[in-house]
């Protein structure tokens, strides 16, 4: 498993099993977030940037998602996870997910330290069908 699509599929399955609604390629102004996870009844957004190995580029992109999410993760293939500067991720309030053929592992979770832009967050919830979840 060495393609971004395969990593995305694995993460999707992982969070869906945990009861999340998972949407891919979610618009954030002129950008797109690889994965958004939403849970019924909890008004929280998890945003995930997926990379096979280029964690530095992934961190740049993931850090932008903090304006609209409660939790942000960088997901990377296990073969390259030893390269990641964990302290830098922690300082930025970004968690790490490691993925391989055997599954998905959340290495650490950290709450976004930046205040979110409520308007953009609401747009994302509504794009992902959050209203539907609120009503059931």
């Amino acid at each position: 498993m060495k393609s971004e699509d395969e990593i995305i599929d694995n993460i999707k399955l992982f969070f869906e099993k945990k009861g999340f609604r998972v949407i891919t390629e979610v618009p954030l102004l002129t950008k797109r977030i690889d994965i958004i996870c939403l849970k019924n009844g909890i008004n929280e957004i998890i945003a995930i940037e997926v990379k096979i190995q280029n964690w530095k580029r992934g961190l740049q992109q993931a850090s932008v998602y903090r304006i609209c999410s409660d939790f942000v993760y960088l997901a990377i293939h296990r073969d390259f996870s030893h390269r990641v500067d964990i302290k830098l991720l922690q300082r930025a309030g970004i968690g790490l997910i490691v993925v391989d053929e055997d599954g998905v592992e959340i290495i650490f979770k950290i709450s976004n330290q930046l205040l979110t832009h409520q308007g953009i967050k609401n747009n994302i919830i509504s794009y992902c069908g959050g209203d539907y979840f609120a009503s059931i």
């Binding site: 102004l29 950008k31 850090s63 304006i67 830098l88 308007g119």
Partner: protein, 409 residues
Amino acid sequence: MPAFKIFYRIGMAGEKAVLSHELLKDAFYGISLSANVACFSRTWVSQFINRLGKPFFIDPVSYVFQFPIEQISREGSLKKSFEKLVKIYGEPIISASEGHQITLSDFDDGIITSMITNILNFQRNIARSESNSQKSLFEFGEWLDEEIVEKEPEFLVPPYFWFDTPESEWYDLNIRIMELSKDNFQDIPIYGVLCTNKEVLSNEEWLSKILRDFDFIDGILIWLSDFNEYSLNGRILKTFINFVQQLNREKDAIMMYGSYFSMIASKFGLNGMSQGVGISESKNVTDQPTGGTFSRKYYVPQAKTSVSVANAMSFYAEHPETICRCDICRQNEIHSSDDIYKFFDELTPLKGKIHYCLCRNSELEEIKNNDKDEIESILSSSIEFCEEMINGLYDIPYRHLARWLSAIQ
């Protein structure tokens, strides 16, 4: 050394409101237009030029006819703006537009002279609108005994073609076109276009030839295809500085597409640049000519580059105290991330573009008022700021700053 001239290149009407804004009255030198835009929108272009009252020039964009015609076609037929233009330009451009691949054998002195006459007269008369309202305005001026001067371009730009080496026959054709333009239009400055690849500058022999051959012309417009100041390595940027240093200081040397690095090059002999408002800071000759599109971006003065609004928002939400203090940005009280979000919510494309031009102008002032060593320390401070505050986050590129610094050191 004359002041560095920034010519903003305008597309299909989009920049009118920006460039005529009160805040930008003294924030740029002039404007430039592609001939197809000028020709397609002649009425508003002529009114705009006369109302703005600033210097301008027209890029004849003749190089496009050297390449497959599909580049300027839509759904199998020539784009409307080019359809109009070829009628003005005449042969051999008309044949090129009909699918005949233009070659050097299409040109002799007679054909060149008639093409030059058509193209340069078109440029010269662009501000003389044929519209009735414009004519009435001039008649009214005469009646009031006030002279309303119809503007002429600051200089004329003869048709030009891209060449890969100065040993190519396209290069010789360009020189011949410039010579005949000088002969036929002696009462107005003629600026020749050096439209080639950046690699040409690395060859000392070619460089000397270019400098020699362009010396008779009144000014030079430099277009190095795909010369992206943000991505090029220090070695190529240094070669460019070396080239600029050898140019004749008594004549204008203007980058056709440039950015902050071109402004720094003013310390070495460059004295102008043309660029879109927040766009067109570089261009490849094989890029499709468009009227110019603007995606919502924000110029980050610390990194001297434009980034998407989401990226800028994520950075400034964490560092609100570092937001720009130009006349647009300081209209808002900003102390917190919430203030930043509100600021970006209210930032219209118009405001974003004005902010861009104001930043450019203050950067130019800073470059003008400091010597080369001081500019090196300005760049060093910017690098320090970015390494401390951006440091791999926010998706704001800043590595170009170090490359610029190494190129001028």
